[in-house]
Symmetry: C2
Subunit: 282 residues, 2 copies
Protein backbone atom coordinates (compact mmCIF):
# COMPACT_ATOMS: atom_id res chain seq x y z
CA UNK A 1 0.00 0.00 0.00
CA UNK A 2 1.53 3.33 -0.98
CA UNK A 3 1.55 6.63 0.93
CA UNK A 4 -1.72 7.77 -0.64
CA UNK A 5 -3.49 5.08 1.38
CA UNK A 6 -5.49 5.89 4.47
CA UNK A 7 -5.44 3.58 7.47
CA UNK A 8 -8.22 3.51 9.99
CA UNK A 9 -7.78 1.82 13.31
CA UNK A 10 -10.19 -0.89 14.40
CA UNK A 11 -8.35 -1.38 17.68
CA UNK A 12 -4.87 -0.29 18.77
CA UNK A 13 -3.62 -3.48 17.07
CA UNK A 14 -5.84 -3.94 14.02
CA UNK A 15 -6.46 -1.64 11.07
CA UNK A 16 -8.05 -1.48 7.66
CA UNK A 17 -6.40 0.38 4.79
CA UNK A 18 -8.11 1.85 1.74
CA UNK A 19 -6.17 3.40 -1.11
CA UNK A 20 -7.25 7.00 -1.62
CA UNK A 21 -7.71 8.83 -4.93
CA UNK A 22 -8.13 12.21 -3.28
CA UNK A 23 -9.26 13.98 -0.14
CA UNK A 24 -12.54 15.81 -0.69
CA UNK A 25 -13.09 17.47 2.67
CA UNK A 26 -11.31 17.64 6.03
CA UNK A 27 -12.50 19.81 8.91
CA UNK A 28 -12.91 20.08 12.63
CA UNK A 29 -16.57 20.56 13.58
CA UNK A 30 -17.51 21.59 17.15
CA UNK A 31 -18.08 17.88 17.87
CA UNK A 32 -15.62 15.84 15.83
CA UNK A 33 -13.12 15.64 13.01
CA UNK A 34 -14.92 15.11 9.71
CA UNK A 35 -13.25 13.74 6.56
CA UNK A 36 -14.63 12.71 3.20
CA UNK A 37 -12.20 10.81 0.98
CA UNK A 38 -12.54 9.27 -2.44
CA UNK A 39 -11.12 5.73 -2.51
CA UNK A 40 -10.41 3.29 -5.34
CA UNK A 41 -12.40 0.27 -4.18
CA UNK A 42 -15.06 1.68 -1.86
CA UNK A 43 -16.00 5.00 -3.50
CA UNK A 44 -16.44 7.99 -1.22
CA UNK A 45 -15.88 7.40 2.49
CA UNK A 46 -17.13 9.44 5.44
CA UNK A 47 -14.87 9.36 8.51
CA UNK A 48 -15.63 10.87 11.93
CA UNK A 49 -12.69 11.14 14.30
CA UNK A 50 -10.71 8.92 11.90
CA UNK A 51 -13.22 6.05 11.98
CA UNK A 52 -15.12 4.89 8.90
CA UNK A 53 -18.80 5.80 9.24
CA UNK A 54 -19.81 4.77 5.76
CA UNK A 55 -18.49 4.00 2.31
CA UNK A 56 -20.50 4.33 -0.88
CA UNK A 57 -19.87 0.68 -1.68
CA UNK A 58 -21.20 -1.01 1.45
CA UNK A 59 -23.42 1.58 3.22
CA UNK A 60 -26.54 -0.15 1.85
CA UNK A 61 -26.04 -3.06 4.24
CA UNK A 62 -26.01 -0.90 7.36
CA UNK A 63 -28.82 1.44 6.32
CA UNK A 64 -31.16 -1.29 5.07
CA UNK A 65 -30.60 -3.48 8.09
CA UNK A 66 -31.01 -0.76 10.73
CA UNK A 67 -34.29 0.28 9.07
CA UNK A 68 -36.31 -2.49 7.47
CA UNK A 69 -36.34 -5.15 10.21
CA UNK A 70 -38.13 -2.76 12.58
CA UNK A 71 -40.42 -1.21 9.98
CA UNK A 72 -41.50 -4.59 8.64
CA UNK A 73 -42.12 -5.86 12.18
CA UNK A 74 -44.30 -2.92 13.25
CA UNK A 75 -47.83 -3.48 11.85
CA UNK A 76 -48.32 0.10 10.67
CA UNK A 77 -45.46 2.54 11.30
CA UNK A 78 -46.57 6.11 10.65
CA UNK A 79 -44.21 8.27 12.64
CA UNK A 80 -40.49 7.57 12.85
CA UNK A 81 -37.77 9.25 14.90
CA UNK A 82 -34.10 8.87 13.98
CA UNK A 83 -31.44 9.90 16.52
CA UNK A 84 -28.12 10.53 14.75
CA UNK A 85 -27.88 9.41 11.13
CA UNK A 86 -27.06 12.87 9.79
CA UNK A 87 -25.71 11.31 6.59
CA UNK A 88 -29.30 10.57 5.55
CA UNK A 89 -28.86 6.89 4.63
CA UNK A 90 -31.41 5.71 7.18
CA UNK A 91 -33.91 8.38 6.09
CA UNK A 92 -33.53 7.16 2.49
CA UNK A 93 -34.50 3.64 3.60
CA UNK A 94 -37.41 4.73 5.84
CA UNK A 95 -38.85 6.62 2.85
CA UNK A 96 -39.29 3.26 1.08
CA UNK A 97 -42.22 2.61 3.48
CA UNK A 98 -45.24 4.44 2.04
CA UNK A 99 -47.24 4.25 5.31
CA UNK A 100 -44.71 6.46 7.06
CA UNK A 101 -46.15 9.98 7.23
CA UNK A 102 -43.46 11.84 9.11
CA UNK A 103 -39.75 11.30 9.82
CA UNK A 104 -37.92 13.43 12.36
CA UNK A 105 -34.13 13.22 12.33
CA UNK A 106 -32.26 14.64 15.32
CA UNK A 107 -28.57 15.13 14.57
CA UNK A 108 -26.25 17.01 16.89
CA UNK A 109 -23.73 18.07 14.24
CA UNK A 110 -25.07 20.25 11.43
CA UNK A 111 -21.80 19.88 9.52
CA UNK A 112 -22.41 16.13 9.07
CA UNK A 113 -25.74 16.91 7.41
CA UNK A 114 -24.34 19.72 5.25
CA UNK A 115 -21.26 17.79 4.13
CA UNK A 116 -23.25 14.69 3.20
CA UNK A 117 -25.83 16.76 1.28
CA UNK A 118 -22.99 18.25 -0.71
CA UNK A 119 -20.61 15.31 -1.22
CA UNK A 120 -22.66 12.14 -0.69
CA UNK A 121 -25.91 12.84 -2.56
CA UNK A 122 -26.75 9.15 -3.17
CA UNK A 123 -26.81 8.64 0.56
CA UNK A 124 -28.34 11.92 1.71
CA UNK A 125 -30.95 12.87 -0.89
CA UNK A 126 -33.85 11.72 1.30
CA UNK A 127 -33.11 14.51 3.77
CA UNK A 128 -34.77 16.94 1.34
CA UNK A 129 -38.05 14.96 1.19
CA UNK A 130 -41.11 16.90 2.44
CA UNK A 131 -41.91 14.08 4.91
CA UNK A 132 -38.56 14.68 6.63
CA UNK A 133 -37.79 17.22 9.34
CA UNK A 134 -34.10 17.62 10.24
CA UNK A 135 -33.54 18.98 13.75
CA UNK A 136 -30.04 20.02 14.80
CA UNK A 137 -30.24 19.16 18.48
CA UNK A 138 -28.91 16.79 21.12
CA UNK A 139 -31.01 13.64 20.78
CA UNK A 140 -30.73 12.90 24.49
CA UNK A 141 -32.37 16.20 25.42
CA UNK A 142 -34.81 16.03 22.51
CA UNK A 143 -36.68 12.98 23.77
CA UNK A 144 -36.66 14.00 27.43
CA UNK A 145 -39.55 16.38 26.87
CA UNK A 146 -41.69 14.13 24.64
CA UNK A 147 -44.01 11.19 25.24
CA UNK A 148 -46.09 8.59 23.35
CA UNK A 149 -45.36 9.98 19.89
CA UNK A 150 -43.47 7.53 17.68
CA UNK A 151 -44.03 4.07 16.22
CA UNK A 152 -40.38 3.39 15.53
CA UNK A 153 -37.27 5.04 17.00
CA UNK A 154 -33.95 4.33 15.26
CA UNK A 155 -30.67 5.03 17.10
CA UNK A 156 -28.18 5.54 14.27
CA UNK A 157 -25.25 6.63 16.40
CA UNK A 158 -21.48 6.67 16.34
CA UNK A 159 -19.52 4.57 18.86
CA UNK A 160 -20.11 5.18 22.59
CA UNK A 161 -17.20 7.59 22.96
CA UNK A 162 -17.63 11.36 22.79
CA UNK A 163 -21.01 12.88 21.87
CA UNK A 164 -22.80 9.51 21.44
CA UNK A 165 -21.89 8.06 24.85
CA UNK A 166 -25.25 8.84 26.47
CA UNK A 167 -27.10 7.08 23.64
CA UNK A 168 -26.06 3.70 25.10
CA UNK A 169 -27.24 4.29 28.67
CA UNK A 170 -30.27 3.05 30.58
CA UNK A 171 -31.54 6.55 31.28
CA UNK A 172 -31.73 7.30 27.55
CA UNK A 173 -33.38 3.96 26.79
CA UNK A 174 -36.02 4.70 29.46
CA UNK A 175 -36.82 7.97 27.71
CA UNK A 176 -37.06 6.17 24.36
CA UNK A 177 -39.49 3.69 25.93
CA UNK A 178 -41.75 6.57 26.97
CA UNK A 179 -41.56 8.34 23.63
CA UNK A 180 -42.81 5.20 21.85
CA UNK A 181 -46.49 4.46 21.28
CA UNK A 182 -48.11 1.23 22.51
CA UNK A 183 -46.85 -1.03 19.72
CA UNK A 184 -43.60 0.89 19.45
CA UNK A 185 -40.25 -0.55 18.46
CA UNK A 186 -36.78 0.84 19.02
CA UNK A 187 -33.75 -0.34 17.05
CA UNK A 188 -30.17 0.65 17.73
CA UNK A 189 -26.89 -0.16 16.07
CA UNK A 190 -25.16 -2.21 18.78
CA UNK A 191 -21.52 -2.43 17.65
CA UNK A 192 -19.46 -5.50 16.73
CA UNK A 193 -20.02 -8.47 19.02
CA UNK A 194 -16.86 -10.07 17.63
CA UNK A 195 -14.62 -7.04 18.17
CA UNK A 196 -16.10 -6.01 21.52
CA UNK A 197 -18.47 -8.62 23.01
CA UNK A 198 -18.54 -6.83 26.38
CA UNK A 199 -19.92 -3.67 24.84
CA UNK A 200 -22.53 -5.66 22.91
CA UNK A 201 -23.61 -7.36 26.13
CA UNK A 202 -23.70 -4.07 28.04
CA UNK A 203 -26.06 -2.56 25.45
CA UNK A 204 -28.24 -5.68 25.63
CA UNK A 205 -28.34 -5.56 29.42
CA UNK A 206 -29.15 -1.86 29.53
CA UNK A 207 -32.01 -2.41 27.09
CA UNK A 208 -33.25 -5.45 29.06
CA UNK A 209 -33.70 -3.32 32.16
CA UNK A 210 -36.17 -1.11 30.25
CA UNK A 211 -37.94 -3.10 27.51
CA UNK A 212 -39.82 -6.42 27.86
CA UNK A 213 -38.51 -7.87 24.56
CA UNK A 214 -34.94 -7.62 23.27
CA UNK A 215 -33.57 -9.29 20.13
CA UNK A 216 -30.12 -8.83 18.62
CA UNK A 217 -29.41 -9.51 14.96
CA UNK A 218 -26.40 -9.47 12.64
CA UNK A 219 -25.25 -8.17 9.27
CA UNK A 220 -21.99 -8.17 7.29
CA UNK A 221 -20.47 -4.72 6.88
CA UNK A 222 -17.02 -5.12 5.30
CA UNK A 223 -15.60 -1.74 6.36
CA UNK A 224 -16.75 -1.89 10.00
CA UNK A 225 -14.51 -3.44 12.69
CA UNK A 226 -14.38 -7.23 12.12
CA UNK A 227 -17.17 -6.98 9.50
CA UNK A 228 -19.59 -8.67 11.91
CA UNK A 229 -22.02 -5.98 13.02
CA UNK A 230 -25.05 -6.11 15.29
CA UNK A 231 -28.31 -4.26 15.71
CA UNK A 232 -30.68 -4.71 18.63
CA UNK A 233 -34.45 -4.41 18.54
CA UNK A 234 -36.33 -3.51 21.72
CA UNK A 235 -40.03 -3.97 21.52
CA UNK A 236 -43.04 -3.33 23.71
CA UNK A 237 -45.20 -6.00 22.07
CA UNK A 238 -44.00 -7.42 18.75
CA UNK A 239 -41.61 -10.24 17.94
CA UNK A 240 -39.38 -9.37 14.96
CA UNK A 241 -39.62 -12.81 13.35
CA UNK A 242 -43.03 -14.13 14.43
CA UNK A 243 -44.73 -10.80 13.65
CA UNK A 244 -42.89 -9.82 10.49
CA UNK A 245 -45.20 -8.92 7.61
CA UNK A 246 -43.82 -11.48 5.17
CA UNK A 247 -45.73 -10.44 2.06
CA UNK A 248 -44.84 -6.79 2.63
CA UNK A 249 -41.19 -7.75 3.18
CA UNK A 250 -41.20 -9.54 -0.16
CA UNK A 251 -42.58 -6.45 -1.94
CA UNK A 252 -40.06 -4.21 -0.20
CA UNK A 253 -37.18 -6.34 -1.37
CA UNK A 254 -37.67 -5.16 -4.95
CA UNK A 255 -36.11 -1.93 -3.62
CA UNK A 256 -33.26 -3.36 -1.53
CA UNK A 257 -29.82 -4.75 -2.20
CA UNK A 258 -29.28 -6.65 1.07
CA UNK A 259 -32.62 -7.00 2.88
CA UNK A 260 -35.17 -9.66 1.96
CA UNK A 261 -37.59 -11.78 4.01
CA UNK A 262 -35.11 -14.67 4.45
CA UNK A 263 -32.36 -12.28 5.55
CA UNK A 264 -34.83 -10.67 8.00
CA UNK A 265 -35.29 -14.04 9.72
CA UNK A 266 -31.77 -15.40 9.36
CA UNK A 267 -30.17 -12.30 10.82
CA UNK A 268 -31.48 -13.37 14.24
CA UNK A 269 -29.57 -16.69 14.18
CA UNK A 270 -26.57 -16.13 16.41
CA UNK A 271 -23.38 -18.22 16.26
CA UNK A 272 -22.66 -20.28 19.37
CA UNK A 273 -19.97 -17.95 20.70
CA UNK A 274 -22.56 -15.15 20.88
CA UNK A 275 -25.37 -17.34 22.22
CA UNK A 276 -22.97 -18.30 25.01
CA UNK A 277 -22.35 -14.63 25.85
CA UNK A 278 -26.11 -14.09 26.18
CA UNK A 279 -26.55 -17.28 28.23
CA UNK A 280 -24.09 -15.89 30.78
CA UNK A 281 -26.40 -12.99 31.54
CA UNK A 282 -29.70 -14.90 31.30
CA UNK B 1 0.06 1.43 13.37
CA UNK B 2 3.79 1.20 14.03
CA UNK B 3 6.49 -0.55 11.95
CA UNK B 4 6.07 -3.85 13.81
CA UNK B 5 2.68 -4.19 12.10
CA UNK B 6 2.10 -6.52 9.18
CA UNK B 7 -0.16 -5.52 6.33
CA UNK B 8 -1.80 -8.06 4.09
CA UNK B 9 -3.38 -7.04 0.83
CA UNK B 10 -7.00 -7.88 0.14
CA UNK B 11 -6.87 -6.21 -3.26
CA UNK B 12 -4.34 -3.77 -4.75
CA UNK B 13 -6.36 -1.04 -2.99
CA UNK B 14 -7.53 -2.58 0.28
CA UNK B 15 -5.54 -4.06 3.14
CA UNK B 16 -5.85 -5.34 6.67
CA UNK B 17 -3.16 -4.65 9.25
CA UNK B 18 -2.42 -6.69 12.37
CA UNK B 19 0.15 -5.59 14.92
CA UNK B 20 2.82 -8.26 15.33
CA UNK B 21 4.50 -9.37 18.57
CA UNK B 22 7.10 -11.46 16.78
CA UNK B 23 7.79 -13.49 13.65
CA UNK B 24 7.84 -17.21 14.41
CA UNK B 25 8.72 -18.69 11.04
CA UNK B 26 9.39 -17.42 7.52
CA UNK B 27 10.45 -19.66 4.67
CA UNK B 28 10.11 -20.38 0.98
CA UNK B 29 8.67 -23.84 0.37
CA UNK B 30 8.78 -25.38 -3.14
CA UNK B 31 5.20 -24.11 -3.59
CA UNK B 32 4.80 -20.84 -1.71
CA UNK B 33 6.10 -18.40 0.87
CA UNK B 34 5.08 -19.53 4.35
CA UNK B 35 5.01 -17.24 7.39
CA UNK B 36 3.77 -17.74 10.92
CA UNK B 37 3.49 -14.57 13.01
CA UNK B 38 2.31 -13.93 16.53
CA UNK B 39 -0.07 -10.95 16.66
CA UNK B 40 -1.59 -8.99 19.54
CA UNK B 41 -5.29 -9.32 18.75
CA UNK B 42 -5.55 -12.45 16.61
CA UNK B 43 -2.98 -14.80 18.13
CA UNK B 44 -0.78 -16.76 15.76
CA UNK B 45 -1.38 -16.20 12.07
CA UNK B 46 -0.49 -18.45 9.12
CA UNK B 47 0.23 -16.62 5.86
CA UNK B 48 0.84 -18.21 2.46
CA UNK B 49 2.28 -15.90 -0.20
CA UNK B 50 1.51 -12.98 2.10
CA UNK B 51 -2.21 -13.76 2.43
CA UNK B 52 -3.83 -14.68 5.75
CA UNK B 53 -4.83 -18.35 5.72
CA UNK B 54 -5.89 -18.53 9.33
CA UNK B 55 -5.59 -16.81 12.67
CA UNK B 56 -5.97 -18.54 16.02
CA UNK B 57 -8.75 -16.16 16.97
CA UNK B 58 -11.16 -16.67 14.07
CA UNK B 59 -10.16 -19.97 12.39
CA UNK B 60 -13.03 -21.76 14.15
CA UNK B 61 -15.56 -20.04 11.89
CA UNK B 62 -13.96 -21.25 8.66
CA UNK B 63 -13.19 -24.77 9.85
CA UNK B 64 -16.56 -25.42 11.47
CA UNK B 65 -18.48 -24.03 8.53
CA UNK B 66 -16.58 -25.87 5.80
CA UNK B 67 -17.09 -29.14 7.69
CA UNK B 68 -20.32 -29.46 9.64
CA UNK B 69 -22.90 -28.34 7.09
CA UNK B 70 -21.92 -31.21 4.75
CA UNK B 71 -21.42 -33.81 7.49
CA UNK B 72 -24.76 -33.03 9.11
CA UNK B 73 -26.51 -33.16 5.72
CA UNK B 74 -25.10 -36.55 4.70
CA UNK B 75 -27.14 -39.27 6.47
CA UNK B 76 -24.14 -41.37 7.48
CA UNK B 77 -20.70 -40.09 6.47
CA UNK B 78 -18.05 -42.78 7.02
CA UNK B 79 -15.24 -41.89 4.70
CA UNK B 80 -14.08 -38.33 4.17
CA UNK B 81 -11.50 -36.87 1.77
CA UNK B 82 -9.97 -33.44 2.34
CA UNK B 83 -8.04 -31.78 -0.49
CA UNK B 84 -5.72 -29.10 0.89
CA UNK B 85 -6.26 -28.15 4.53
CA UNK B 86 -2.70 -29.03 5.59
CA UNK B 87 -3.11 -26.90 8.73
CA UNK B 88 -5.37 -29.62 10.15
CA UNK B 89 -8.28 -27.38 11.22
CA UNK B 90 -10.78 -29.17 9.00
CA UNK B 91 -9.56 -32.58 10.17
CA UNK B 92 -10.10 -31.47 13.79
CA UNK B 93 -13.73 -30.66 12.97
CA UNK B 94 -14.39 -33.85 10.96
CA UNK B 95 -13.16 -35.84 13.98
CA UNK B 96 -16.14 -34.50 15.98
CA UNK B 97 -18.34 -36.87 13.92
CA UNK B 98 -18.07 -40.33 15.52
CA UNK B 99 -19.51 -42.17 12.48
CA UNK B 100 -16.53 -41.14 10.38
CA UNK B 101 -14.15 -44.10 10.15
CA UNK B 102 -11.42 -42.77 7.93
CA UNK B 103 -10.18 -39.33 6.89
CA UNK B 104 -7.68 -38.90 4.07
CA UNK B 105 -6.04 -35.50 3.75
CA UNK B 106 -4.20 -34.74 0.52
CA UNK B 107 -1.93 -31.72 0.87
CA UNK B 108 0.59 -30.73 -1.77
CA UNK B 109 3.00 -28.91 0.55
CA UNK B 110 4.51 -30.97 3.37
CA UNK B 111 5.95 -27.83 4.95
CA UNK B 112 2.45 -26.51 5.68
CA UNK B 113 1.69 -29.70 7.60
CA UNK B 114 5.01 -29.74 9.45
CA UNK B 115 4.91 -26.05 10.38
CA UNK B 116 1.35 -26.21 11.67
CA UNK B 117 2.07 -29.36 13.69
CA UNK B 118 4.94 -27.50 15.32
CA UNK B 119 3.58 -23.97 15.75
CA UNK B 120 -0.23 -24.23 15.60
CA UNK B 121 -1.00 -27.30 17.74
CA UNK B 122 -4.55 -26.20 18.64
CA UNK B 123 -5.40 -26.21 14.96
CA UNK B 124 -3.37 -29.21 13.78
CA UNK B 125 -3.56 -31.79 16.59
CA UNK B 126 -6.17 -33.91 14.75
CA UNK B 127 -3.60 -34.75 12.07
CA UNK B 128 -2.06 -37.24 14.51
CA UNK B 129 -5.33 -39.12 15.09
CA UNK B 130 -5.26 -42.82 14.04
CA UNK B 131 -8.33 -42.28 11.82
CA UNK B 132 -6.36 -39.76 9.75
CA UNK B 133 -4.03 -40.45 6.86
CA UNK B 134 -1.99 -37.50 5.57
CA UNK B 135 -0.88 -37.88 1.96
CA UNK B 136 1.61 -35.41 0.51
CA UNK B 137 0.40 -35.35 -3.07
CA UNK B 138 -1.25 -33.21 -5.71
CA UNK B 139 -4.99 -33.48 -4.98
CA UNK B 140 -5.86 -33.08 -8.66
CA UNK B 141 -3.86 -36.19 -9.60
CA UNK B 142 -4.91 -38.07 -6.45
CA UNK B 143 -8.59 -38.26 -7.35
CA UNK B 144 -8.03 -38.98 -11.07
CA UNK B 145 -7.29 -42.62 -10.36
CA UNK B 146 -10.07 -43.24 -7.82
CA UNK B 147 -13.81 -43.86 -8.01
CA UNK B 148 -16.88 -44.29 -5.80
CA UNK B 149 -14.99 -44.15 -2.50
CA UNK B 150 -16.00 -41.16 -0.35
CA UNK B 151 -19.15 -39.90 1.35
CA UNK B 152 -17.91 -36.35 1.72
CA UNK B 153 -15.14 -34.51 -0.15
CA UNK B 154 -13.98 -31.19 1.29
CA UNK B 155 -11.97 -28.78 -0.89
CA UNK B 156 -10.06 -26.70 1.66
CA UNK B 157 -7.90 -24.79 -0.79
CA UNK B 158 -6.05 -21.51 -1.11
CA UNK B 159 -7.18 -18.94 -3.70
CA UNK B 160 -7.29 -19.96 -7.36
CA UNK B 161 -3.83 -18.62 -8.16
CA UNK B 162 -0.73 -20.83 -8.15
CA UNK B 163 -0.96 -24.46 -7.02
CA UNK B 164 -4.70 -24.33 -6.21
CA UNK B 165 -5.86 -23.04 -9.60
CA UNK B 166 -6.93 -26.44 -10.93
CA UNK B 167 -9.10 -27.04 -7.83
CA UNK B 168 -11.68 -24.57 -9.19
CA UNK B 169 -12.07 -26.08 -12.68
CA UNK B 170 -14.79 -28.24 -14.21
CA UNK B 171 -12.43 -31.10 -14.97
CA UNK B 172 -11.51 -31.41 -11.30
CA UNK B 173 -15.15 -31.17 -10.18
CA UNK B 174 -16.03 -33.98 -12.62
CA UNK B 175 -13.40 -36.17 -10.98
CA UNK B 176 -14.76 -35.30 -7.53
CA UNK B 177 -18.24 -36.31 -8.72
CA UNK B 178 -16.91 -39.74 -9.69
CA UNK B 179 -14.96 -40.25 -6.49
CA UNK B 180 -18.14 -39.70 -4.43
CA UNK B 181 -20.48 -42.52 -3.47
CA UNK B 182 -24.19 -42.41 -4.36
CA UNK B 183 -25.29 -40.07 -1.57
CA UNK B 184 -22.03 -38.15 -1.74
CA UNK B 185 -21.57 -34.47 -0.98
CA UNK B 186 -18.75 -32.15 -1.95
CA UNK B 187 -18.12 -28.84 -0.25
CA UNK B 188 -15.62 -26.22 -1.32
CA UNK B 189 -14.57 -22.87 0.05
CA UNK B 190 -15.78 -20.52 -2.69
CA UNK B 191 -14.13 -17.18 -1.92
CA UNK B 192 -15.71 -13.83 -1.01
CA UNK B 193 -18.79 -13.02 -3.08
CA UNK B 194 -18.52 -9.39 -1.91
CA UNK B 195 -14.86 -8.95 -2.84
CA UNK B 196 -15.00 -10.93 -6.09
CA UNK B 197 -18.55 -11.82 -7.18
CA UNK B 198 -17.35 -12.92 -10.63
CA UNK B 199 -15.11 -15.60 -9.15
CA UNK B 200 -17.92 -16.79 -6.85
CA UNK B 201 -20.24 -17.09 -9.87
CA UNK B 202 -17.58 -18.89 -11.93
CA UNK B 203 -17.17 -21.52 -9.21
CA UNK B 204 -20.96 -21.91 -9.00
CA UNK B 205 -21.27 -22.28 -12.76
CA UNK B 206 -18.43 -24.80 -13.02
CA UNK B 207 -20.06 -26.89 -10.29
CA UNK B 208 -23.49 -26.61 -11.94
CA UNK B 209 -22.16 -28.22 -15.09
CA UNK B 210 -21.24 -31.33 -13.08
CA UNK B 211 -23.55 -31.73 -10.07
CA UNK B 212 -27.38 -31.78 -10.06
CA UNK B 213 -27.71 -29.74 -6.82
CA UNK B 214 -25.64 -26.67 -5.90
CA UNK B 215 -26.15 -24.48 -2.82
CA UNK B 216 -23.93 -21.61 -1.68
CA UNK B 217 -23.83 -20.45 1.93
CA UNK B 218 -22.12 -17.72 3.94
CA UNK B 219 -20.11 -17.16 7.11
CA UNK B 220 -18.34 -14.20 8.76
CA UNK B 221 -14.57 -14.54 8.82
CA UNK B 222 -13.11 -11.24 10.07
CA UNK B 223 -9.58 -11.72 8.69
CA UNK B 224 -10.61 -12.84 5.20
CA UNK B 225 -11.16 -10.30 2.39
CA UNK B 226 -14.33 -8.30 3.18
CA UNK B 227 -15.21 -10.69 6.03
CA UNK B 228 -18.07 -12.13 3.96
CA UNK B 229 -17.01 -15.62 2.95
CA UNK B 230 -18.79 -18.33 0.99
CA UNK B 231 -18.81 -22.09 0.78
CA UNK B 232 -20.61 -24.11 -1.86
CA UNK B 233 -22.17 -27.54 -1.43
CA UNK B 234 -22.59 -29.79 -4.45
CA UNK B 235 -24.73 -32.80 -3.88
CA UNK B 236 -25.82 -35.85 -5.79
CA UNK B 237 -29.04 -36.32 -3.81
CA UNK B 238 -29.40 -34.40 -0.55
CA UNK B 239 -30.61 -30.89 0.19
CA UNK B 240 -28.51 -29.20 2.88
CA UNK B 241 -31.46 -27.64 4.70
CA UNK B 242 -34.35 -30.04 4.03
CA UNK B 243 -32.21 -33.09 4.77
CA UNK B 244 -30.16 -31.78 7.70
CA UNK B 245 -30.19 -34.08 10.72
CA UNK B 246 -31.55 -31.49 13.16
CA UNK B 247 -31.25 -33.48 16.37
CA UNK B 248 -27.71 -34.52 15.53
CA UNK B 249 -26.83 -30.91 14.68
CA UNK B 250 -28.07 -29.85 18.09
CA UNK B 251 -25.88 -32.44 19.83
CA UNK B 252 -22.88 -31.46 17.73
CA UNK B 253 -23.24 -27.84 18.73
CA UNK B 254 -22.11 -28.64 22.27
CA UNK B 255 -18.65 -28.93 20.62
CA UNK B 256 -18.75 -25.88 18.35
CA UNK B 257 -18.23 -22.15 18.75
CA UNK B 258 -19.94 -20.95 15.57
CA UNK B 259 -22.02 -23.78 14.10
CA UNK B 260 -25.49 -24.66 15.42
CA UNK B 261 -28.70 -25.85 13.74
CA UNK B 262 -30.06 -22.31 13.23
CA UNK B 263 -26.77 -21.13 11.73
CA UNK B 264 -26.78 -24.22 9.44
CA UNK B 265 -30.11 -23.07 7.96
CA UNK B 266 -29.55 -19.31 8.07
CA UNK B 267 -26.23 -19.52 6.28
CA UNK B 268 -28.12 -20.33 3.06
CA UNK B 269 -30.07 -17.04 3.14
CA UNK B 270 -28.37 -14.81 0.60
CA UNK B 271 -28.64 -11.02 0.55
CA UNK B 272 -30.39 -9.56 -2.49
CA UNK B 273 -27.18 -8.43 -4.20
CA UNK B 274 -26.01 -12.06 -4.29
CA UNK B 275 -29.40 -13.52 -5.23
CA UNK B 276 -29.35 -11.13 -8.18
CA UNK B 277 -25.94 -12.43 -9.28
CA UNK B 278 -27.29 -15.98 -9.27
CA UNK B 279 -30.48 -14.92 -11.08
CA UNK B 280 -28.35 -13.62 -13.95
CA UNK B 281 -26.99 -17.09 -14.64
CA UNK B 282 -30.21 -19.03 -13.99
Amino acid sequence: MDPTATATKISPNVGITLKVKRAILSRETPYQKLDILDTYDYGRVLLLDGLIMLTERDEFVYHEMITHVALVTHPNPKRVLIIGGGDGGTVREVLKHPNVEKIELVEIDTEVVQSCLEYLPEVSHGLKDPKVQVLIEDGIKFIESRQDMYDVVIIDSTDPIGPAEGLFETKFYTNVFHVLRGEGIMVTQSESPFQDPKLWIRIYQNLSSVFPKIYSYLAYIPTYPSGLWSFTISSKVHHPVDDMRAEYAQKLSSMTRYYNPEIHKSAFSLPNFLKMELDHIA
